[in-house]
Structures are given as structure tokens and as C-alpha cells.
Amino acid sequence: MKKTFKTGSPYIWLSGGTLTISLLMIFGLVALIMIKGLGIFWPHNITRLMLNDNSVVIGEVAKVEPIPNHKDSYRTKLKVGNRDIYGLDFRWVDNSTILIQDSPPTALTIERREWGNMYGFLKGVKHDNTIEPISLADMKPLLKESKAVYKRIRHIEKKEIGKINYKMEKNRLALKSLERGSQSDNTIEKVTSINGKVEALEKLYTEKVDTLTNLYASTKEKEVVIELADGRDETLPVFQIIRIYDPNQMSIYAKSSFYILKFWEFVSEEPREANTEGGIFPAIFGTVIMVLIMSLVVTPLGVITAVFLREYTSDNIFSRIVRISVNNLAGVPSIVFGVFGLGFFIYFIGGGIDKIFYSESLPTPTFGTGGILWASLTMALLTVPVVVVATEEGISSVPNSLKEASYGLGATKFETLWRVTLPQATPGILTGMILAMARAAGEVAPLMITGVVKLAPSLPLDSYFPFIHLERKFMHLGFHIYDVGFQSPNVEAALPMVYTTTLILIFTVLALNLVAIIARNKLRKKYVSSAL
């Protein structure tokens, strides 16, 4: 026994085993998220169940599990959809009550703009009081038409009316500042000209609203009739339908292309229905922009601090205290930074900016409320220690002989720093940035009080001057996960979206890091130190 321990092999086994457990946990985590998250876009078959009480239900089988405390009995969780009619998306069925189970080929899944999916059979198009049968292929042009109308409506609502509102607000503020400013001869002239502009805008606005009303009215003209599982007929405006398909007849190829389409829709579109349907594009965008702004702020801040600590102070009490404090900053709970951001950035600095530059729009705050800038700055503060530590390591790894060579040629300290030390330390600095980005992309708590929202009306980047709106609130993948998973009105139906969003969050962090890692490796190759 003693001998075995002396050989050292148990320690190899111990360390190898620990590594294996860690790897297994990581792979398990990623695998779980992938399996749960990637499944939701697959068009599942529709199952029809005839029960012993003569009722019929159709829907997607979500889960089959044994009933607790009952031997050999199982129950099925069926996604029956039709939330507007049944009230719930899911229904539990005791397997012992099932008489016949089949998959009717004509059963359809109908994705709607509201109320989630509908499962049923297409009866036809409604004409006054008669129903004219229609095939699935004939539905396509109708859907295309309604999609065009939908796009038109969205365009008017978001872009055109948004533009009018934006201009109106500008005029309103101009008017307000004229009223408050000192009166001069041309004040009245200016006021009249602004009033004229406002009137023109209001007229334009009424026109747009009229167009919208007409468009909305037109959407109710065409209706289809769907037969539900229990034989009831439901009329549904074509406009409500996003997509209609028959999963039981789709080939693997059709299902695969459907899957890719849905996945693309998920990452490129805006959310619908209180975030439980549609895509997550604004959240991806918000996360990336926040991380980028954060990197722009934290890198100079961290690098300059590290340069000061490493190159300009000698090892004395002061520098030691600073270094310990910076390192301890990394251990402060993130919510504390959030509170600091709220108190310092939002109320103090933001409020100050509002008082000086945006006084005409008060009491509505512009910068004095949460926004992407304040969230990014708070995150920068949170991640500064990481960058400082990594940069210090990078700088201390620069060989002294190179610095001496530079000094020997008559370079000053700053020239040496700028031309020799910092370029050599860049891989270290980038390592710090990578760690900072990973931390900032995943942190949610401080964001919740510094500017993240459940649903942001507009992205922080658009076509209105100055194009990037740092005062705007934004959406974030981490917060989106929390919101969809735990705050949404329909948690059960949205649960798969939690996993998918998590997956996208991981991929976003991975993509951001990958860019930095590639840059670092390129630089490392360039600055391979002389190994004589």
C-alpha cells in the first residue's frame, strides 16, 4: 500500500480523474443546452388521440413519463395549442384512457401572430356564409399577400410614424426652449414657423393613421375556417397566419429546410407576444453593442492603470494598496456595481447632463435614466480588475533586455513604453479583454438596474442622427433568458426558448472571444520573443 503511494501513480489518477469530471460536467452542460435548445425549431409530427370518453385531441407529444406512485402506468404531455380556445397550451393525458393513437396526414400546424400555435384541419375559405374548400398549396399566395400587408403596417408604424414623432418631439423641445429663453424680436417669428411645421406634421400623422386604419380593416376581409380536433369550426383571418404546414407529410429534407428557416428567423427577427414567440435579434444586438462599448472603455482604463502600477510607481505601500484594492474589486458582488452605476452614472452624471443639455425635455429624463451607455460603463468598472491584472502580467513578461535596448538608443520612458513594451504586451492585454468580454456578456444583475429592458422599442443604432443612441435602453440575452423563463405569461410554452437563447448567448460570447483570440494569436506570432 505504502509502495503504491510512493510511486506517485495514485496522484496521477487523482488529478486525471478530477480533470475528467470537470470535462464531463462542461460537455454535459453544453449537450443539455444543445439538445433542449435546438429541438424547438424541428417540425414535430401531430398526433391524434381518441380517448375512452369519446373525445379527440390533437397536438404535439411533448413528453411521456411514468405516473408517480402508479406501477406501469404512463401519461403523455400533449401540446394542444389553441390557447385562445382551450386556455392552456398543454394537456396531460393518462395513457390508459387512450383508445386509438394515430397521425392524420392532413393535420396542420398553424403559426399565428397572436395566441401561439393552432392545430387542426383546413376546411376552406369563408365567403359570406359558405365555405369554399382550399388546398394547402393555394394558401401560399394568400399568405404572401398578408405578409406584404403586415410589412407595410410595420413600416408605417415604426418608420414613418416614428419619424413624425421624432420630428414633433424636436419641435416641441425647440418651442419649449424658446419660451424659457429670453424674448427677442424674432422669437414670435420662430414660434410661428415652428407651429406651422407642427401643424404640417400633425396633418401627415392623421393621413398615416387613416392609411393604417384602412390597412387593418383590409386584414379582416379574408378568413379561413379551421376544423379543430373536437369537430368545432374556428374562423381565422388569413392575416393572423404566419405559416401553415403539415408536418405529418413533410419529408426529412423539407423538415430540415424548415428548421434552418426557423432558426434564421429566430436570430434575425424581433420578438412577438411578450417575447414568447418570434426572434431575439434585438437582444443579440444589444448584448454585442454593450460588450463592444464596454471593451472600448475598459481597455484604455485598465491598460493605463496597469502601466502606471508596473512602470511608473516603485514597489511601495501606495502601489501595494492600489494593487490589492484593484484585485479585491474583482470579488465585489456584481449587483453592488449595479447600485453604484445607478447612483453615480445615472443619477449623478446622467442627471447632470440632463440639467445642462436637455433641460427643455425635463422632467422626462434623457441621460438621467438607465441606458446602454451607463450599463456599459458599469460593466467596464466591473471588469477593470481583469484587464489590469492581465496587462500587468503582459508587461512584466516583456524582457528587460528589450527595454534596455530602447533606452540605450536614447528613447525616453514613454517612447520605450509606446514602441516596445506595449506592443509586446498586447497579447496579454487581449487576454484581459477576452476575459472581460466573457464576464460582461454573461453578467445580468447590474444591467437590470442600469438600463436593460424586457422589450426595447428601438435599437441603439438607427438612421437618425447621431445614429448611435447611447441613452437608449436595450435588450440583453442574459436578461432575456430570465424574462422569458421566469417572468413570461406562458412559461411552459416559452421554456424551450430559454434553452435556445442560452445557446445563442454562449455562441455570441464564443464569437466575440474568437475574434479576440485570433487577433491575439496573430500578434503572438509577430512578437515571438528572441529565444537565444
Binding site: S401, K403, E404, A405, S406, Y407, L409, G410, R419, L532
Partner: protein, 250 residues
């Protein structure tokens, strides 16, 4: 005018005295070798001459070094100017991890030369003077790290020469090189003394005997003997010098 006069120079690293009251004039356009056993302060003496010792914390210098009759340790002296005029080549070749061209151009750019044509002329000329141009002219823009050890050391000499110093300090420049590279550098030194004053610290007594005009023997921080190389090696005045060069200690 050009020569360096060391007056009562003492150097302390914290409480440890490294150089003790050294006074010596160094002759212009000659190769002066400083020899002595390890730890005797040869390198420290060399680094005092262009104020490189200041980079070591807790180093204290007393006494004067006159360059152009001006004390380089005077408070109003610009240290970067001193280092431009008194260039240095280090024990281990330390080219910057940049291209060969950028290495030579580094000093010029630091000193504010902006004219690209002028820079490239000087780079070419210095590389030629160091006998490196033929070996590297096709790859001026590739990394200096890829050069061999001897080439790297010659590149470092070229880098020092590019800003036209008056004095070149060499701190055991051949200690990491093979005999043929060493030979090339010694050849280069012979060429350099036509224009520059060269001070070389060496471990290798044959090298000092071969390549230098004047030799100083340093022992325990004191300059024991200083004189023409021939005399010092064949007929040393001091017992310590004789013991050292005959290999009785060191």
C-alpha cells in the same frame, strides 16, 4: 575633445559598493578593453558611462564622468542625449521583435527623423558598414528574430550606429557567439575604431589581447592597471594582473 574622463567614480547598489573611486581617461578612436574576473564591476563601469545604471533601482553614483568636458551626471544633462551619443551593444543580442529595417530605423525615428528616404539611406549604409547588407538585403522586412545569433548581434551594432554615436560601449558582445561570428564582430570592431571610440568589456583575454589597443584590469571594483594592451599582457606592472592573465585565479 572626444575622450571620456572618469573622475573619482564610485557606484553603490544599495549598501553594496561595486566601483571604488575610479579615475581614468579613455582615449579617442581606440579600442579599450576592460577585463577582470566575474563580479568585479566591469559591466557596471561600462553602464555608468551612458547612465544605464540608473535603470537599476537603488543604484547610487558618485563622482563625475566628463564627456566633451561636460559632466554627464550634472543635473541639467539630458540623459537621452547622452545615450544617443554613447551607444551600447549588449551581452545578449536583443533585436526588437520587428523587421530588420525597423530595428535599424528605431533610433532614427525616436530622434525625430521623419524623412523616409533619408531613413532608408541610413539603414542601408549602416547595414553595409556592419557587413550585414549582403546577407539580409532580400528580407529587410522580415523579422529580425529569424536571424542567426551572430547576425542578430551585428544588427544590434548597426542599430546603435544608425544614430551616429561617438562612443560605442560593448558589453561582452561575443560571449554567446561561436568563433566564426566572434571573428566577424572583431573584424567589425577594427573597422569601427576608425570613426568611433570603442570600449569593450570581455571575459575572453585572448579577445582583449587580439582586438584592443588599450586594456584596463578591474578587480573588486578597483582599476588595478591600465595601459597599452601589449605592455599589459606581456609585462604587467601589478602582481594581481599577472596572476589574472596567467590564469592563477579568476
Amino acid at each position: 575633445m572626444n575622450n571620456i574622463i572618469i573622475k573619482n567614480l564610485s557606484l553603490m547598489y544599495g549598501k553594496k559598493q561595486v566601483l571604488k573611486n575610479i579615475s581614468q581617461e579613455i582615449e579617442e578612436k581606440k579600442i579599450t578593453a576592460i577585463i577582470g574576473p566575474s563580479g568585479c564591476g566591469k559591466s557596471s563601469l561600462l553602464r555608468c558611462i551612458n547612465r544605464m545604471n540608473e535603470l537599476i533601482p537603488e543604484s547610487i553614483v558618485e563622482g563625475e564622468i566628463l564627456f566633451h568636458n561636460k559632466n554627464i551626471y550634472a543635473p541639467d544633462t539630458d540623459v537621452t542625449e547622452v545615450r544617443q551619443k554613447i551607444g551600447m551593444v549588449f551581452q545578449k543580442a536583443n533585436p526588437f521583435p520587428k523587421s530588420i529595417y525597423d530595428n535599424v530605423a528605431y533610433g532614427l525615428r525616436i530622434n525625430g527623423t521623419k524623412d523616409k528616404k533619408k531613413i532608408s539611406e541610413i539603414v542601408e549604409k549602416t547595414l553595409h558598414d556592419c557587413g550585414l547588407l549582403d546577407e539580409v538585403k532580400d528580407r529587410l522586412n522580415s523579422s529580425a528574430i529569424q536571424l542567426s545569433g551572430g547576425q542578430q548581434q551585428r544588427l544590434c551594432i548597426a542599430r546603435a550606429l544608425a544614430i551616429e554615436p561617438e562612443i560605442i560601449l560593448m558589453d561582452e558582445p561575443c560571449s554567446a557567439l561561436d568563433p566564426s561570428s566572434t571573428f566577424k564582430i572583431e573584424e567589425l570592431m577594427m573597422k569601427l575604431k576608425e570613426k568611433y571610440t570603442v570600449i569593450i568589456v570581455t571575459h575572453n583575454m585572448q579577445q582583449a589581447a587580439r582586438a584592443s589597443d588599450i586594456t584596463g584590469f578591474l578587480y573588486m571594483g578597483e582599476l588595478i592597471e591600465y595601459g597599452a594592451t601589449n605592455t599589459l599582457f606581456t609585462n604587467p606592472k601589478e602582481k594581481l594582473t599577472e596572476d589574472y592573465i596567467s590564469g592563477n585565479f579568476g
